[in-house]
């Protein structure tokens, strides 16, 4: 391609850029459906043509084989300047007579001032109040309600599906609030010792928050697991921690390190589900020193 033709082509491309950019402004003034797509085509088109014009100009008007230059790499170091700077520092140090005292005092000043400047960061949060991790709204006799705030009745809990329950009258968007409730055949239940009577009519309730990374347990006995892991399973969709609801939510697969905390249930005289006590352990992801079970349990 001759130089003149290349320049002509670059000019044509640049005019294309102008046309696309004007179109962008015109489209912006409209209120079409798919406005986003048209805007992208205009602006993206303008930028693409600009890129093409510039790269064409580079390659055709300033070809690499003609323009390439050779030059020396810079010197690897500057011994003279290094020497002079070092001399200056050494000589300055020489001028102090009580070097160790001053160095000690400067270190103390630096450390203390540094600490003073960092300390206000403690206002960020209740650093030492790890008790707040153990908070739970679940108490004996608190009713289980569904998303609409209606009490869950024992008779409406069916096998083969799961229900999300919240503590009646409590704030819901905290880790300890949501429960997953399922009904199993009472014959199949193999609850850990000490949890007799926690599962009226085969209904079990566990914290809905995975003990691995704090996501909500949103899958119940996903059929894809059926072949490998028969029996019902509660599964977290984040890292596929799998819990066996028939055996105290023991972990059967995936990374979770401990079972889901269980809530003992009772059915009141009206047939509503209520907590028969507190959750069996702290809810959600673990931290250094967290108790794995409730102290009294």
């Amino acid at each position: 391609m001759s130089r003149r033709r290349a320049e002509l082509l670059v000019a044509v491309l640049l005019l294309g850029v102008a046309a696309c950019a004007v179109m962008f402004i015109v489209v912006y003034a409209q209120s079409w459906a798919h406005l986003t797509q048209y805007l992208a085509l205009c602006l993206g088109g303008a930028l693409a043509l600009l890129g093409a014009a510039l790269i064409l100009a580079g390659e055709k008007l300033f070809p690499a084989e003609e323009e390439a230059v050779e030059e020396d790499y810079p010197p690897t170091e500057h011994p003279m300047e290094q020497y002079e700077a070092n001399q200056l520092l050494a000589e300055t140090a020489e001028r102090f007579t009580r070097k160790r005292l001053l160095a000690g005092a400067a270190t103390a000043a630096g450390a203390a001032l540094g600490a003073a400047l960092v300390v206000p960061a403690a206002s960020l949060g209740p650093l030492l109040d790890t008790k707040s991790f153990y908070y739970s709204p679940w108490r004996r006799d608190r009713r289980l309600v569904n998303e609409d705030g209606r009490p869950l009745r024992a008779e409406e809990i069916e096998e083969g599906t799961f229900y999300t329950a919240y503590p009646e009258g409590a704030y819901r968007d905290e880790l300890a609030a949501p429960l997953v409730v399922v009904r199993l055949d009472p014959e199949e239940l193999e609850m850990p010792a000490g949890r007799e009577g926690w599962t009226p009519r085969g209904i079990v309730a566990y914290s809905k928050i995975c003990t691995h990374a704090g996501c909500a347990i949103a899958l119940y006995r996903d059929p894809k697991f059926a072949a490998a892991e028969p029996g019902p399973a509660l599964v977290c969709p984040c890292h596929y921690s799998t819990f066996d609801p028939a055996r105290g939510a023991e972990v059967t697969f995936g990374p979770a390190g401990r079972p889901l905390p269980q809530l003992p249930l009772l059915v009141d005289s009206k047939g509503d589900l209520r907590a028969a006590g507190q959750l069996s352990g702290p809810v959600g992801p673990a931290f250094w020193g967290v108790r794995t079970r409730r102290p009294s349990a």
Binding site: G44, G51, L175, H212, F225, C238
Partner: protein, 450 residues
């Protein structure tokens, strides 16, 4: 006109010598050198689109009712953060284009840095005197990961809340200080105090971008002062003579053309290829989750590591000491980071090579380095693929549990196999070159050619 402007500026800034040097600065001409430039240009697009988004985004968890034009969500109650992003997507003209371009640019930014790192590693570009340039680049990569994570956490949609919960759990798992650290950052146990949003926002729009910008400036300043590396050329002493295109006029149109091309690609992706449709996920509540949740690609290696660890907590006397997410979420990325940072000095120690290097190796020139790099890369990629096991289950129907068991074993075997194969290929290529050189010499020798 230009002469008068130059004179005016030089008399006031004394910048003419620096300008002359800049215009003559030579860039070696090889396609693989573009990867770092692509990252730089994606960062520019991120800043421009990001500033636009801040004009509309409200970093607040205060509840409000959505009354925008997306009918399926009208009337729902959600945080102002989520609602303002819905408004950016549906009611701010060009808002969706800018938002999606921003998201795509983040994905491309990290991808370009990773590819650039791979190029730098396998050609030995990090060797003396460029170890600091390399270290700064690695730190920039990890800062970019955190920046991206904060970016999609801010939106307060279902996926961002799930990601935030996982980040919280990973932070909690740090021995000794995890709980205190998370209380400081979140202000109270998950989902945190309202201040969390102010904190994430200032980190995402100011602190981390400044950090990336500072590292970027230092990175480029070091490149400029030690100059670029280059591949060896015949008949040029490549360690001392740099061959390249001067910044002006030859390099400038090529490089600006690349900027325009990168911006074009990102705008077209942003307008034509949907990414993170938060109106489909809905607002976050701690009691909700969704199946098939996947983070942005650059966190895939971490989700893979979290999924691969077998189920155990380190428990002593009814107290958990090291919670499970520590291994995949903290230890694994720390090992990768430290290995990357230490590599230039490990290599110097192992080979005893403390010379200055301006000419690049081809991967075959250093078979052992290539083998170790291939093995390490395979290790991380295998963990990444384990993070996609649930997608493989959906696409190919291979049982999730079988895949996880496969990866639990394979991540410790396949990297060695890959390293060995890479090493043999390098040796083979070198041997082939020697044979060809021998033949060329023989053919050039008139006595044998007869």
């Amino acid at each position: 006109m230009i002469r008068r402007a130059l004179r005016f500026l030089d008399q006031r800034s004394g910048a003419a010598p620096a300008l002359r040097k800049t215009l003559h600065y030579a860039f070696p001409d090889h396609w693989s050198f573009l990867l770092g430039e692509v990252a730089l240009y994606a960062f520019i697009v991120l800043v421009v689109t990001g500033v636009y988004l801040t004009l509309f985004f409200e970093p607040s968890t205060a509840k409000d009712t959505y009354e925008g034009s997306y009918a399926p969500l009208q009337g729902i109650e959600a945080s102002k953060a989520y609602i303002s992003v819905l408004n950016i997507s549906f009611d701010v003209k060009a808002g969706l284009l800018i938002r999606q371009t921003h998201h795509w640019a983040a994905d491309v930014f990290v991808a370009a840095i990773v590819l650039h790192l791979i190029r730098v590693f396998f050609t030995g570009a990090y060797r003396k005197p460029r170890e600091l340039t390399y270290v700064i680049g690695v730190l920039m990569l990890f800062t970019a990961l955190l920046e991206g994570y904060l970016g999609y956490s801010l939106v307060d949609d279902l996926l961002s809340g799930m990601g935030l919960a996982i980040g919280y759990a990973v932070g909690l798992s740090i021995p000794f200080v995890g709980a205190n650290l998370m209380l400081a950052i979140f202000g109270r146990p998950f989902p945190g105090a309202p201040e969390l949003w102010s904190r994430m926002y200032i980190a995402h729009v100011l602190i981390l971008p400044l950090l990336i910008g500072g590292l970027l400036t230092a990175h480029l300043a070091l490149v400029a002062s030690r100059r670029h590396t280059q591949f060896r050329r015949k008949r040029v002493p490549s360690e001392v003579k740099l061959v390249g295109l001067p910044a002006f006029p030859a390099q400038a149109p090529r490089s600006l053309g690349l900027l325009a091309a990168v911006a074009a690609a990102l705008v077209l992706l942003g307008g034509l290829v949907q990414i993170n449709p938060i109106w489909l996920w809905g607002p976050y509540h701690v009691s909700q989750g969704t199946n098939g949740a996947q983070p942005d690609w650059y966190l895939g290696w971490l989700i893979g590591a979290l999924r691969l660890v077998p189920h155990f907590d380190v428990v002593v006397w009814n107290r958990t000491l090291v919670p499970n997410p520590f291994w995949g979420g903290i230890l694994f990325p720390t090992v990768v980071l430290v290995a990357l940072l230490a590599w230039p000095w490990l290599e110097q120690r192992a080979t005893g090579d403390r010379r200055f290097h301006n000419a690049l190796d081809r991967p075959r020139d250093a078979p052992l380095r290539t083998a170790i790099g291939a093995g390490f890369l395979t290790w991380v990629v295998m963990v990444f693929m384990a993070g996609a096991s649930d997608r493989m289950l959906v696409w190919l129907g291979i049982s999730y549990m079988s895949q996880i068991w496969f990866y639990r074993v394979a991540v410790w075997i396949v990297p060695f196999v890959a390293g060995f194969i890479a090493w043999r290929i390098c040796l083979g290529l070198k041997a082939m070159e020697e044979v060809e050189a021998e033949r060329a010499r023989a053919e050039a020798d008139p006595e044998i050619a007869l």
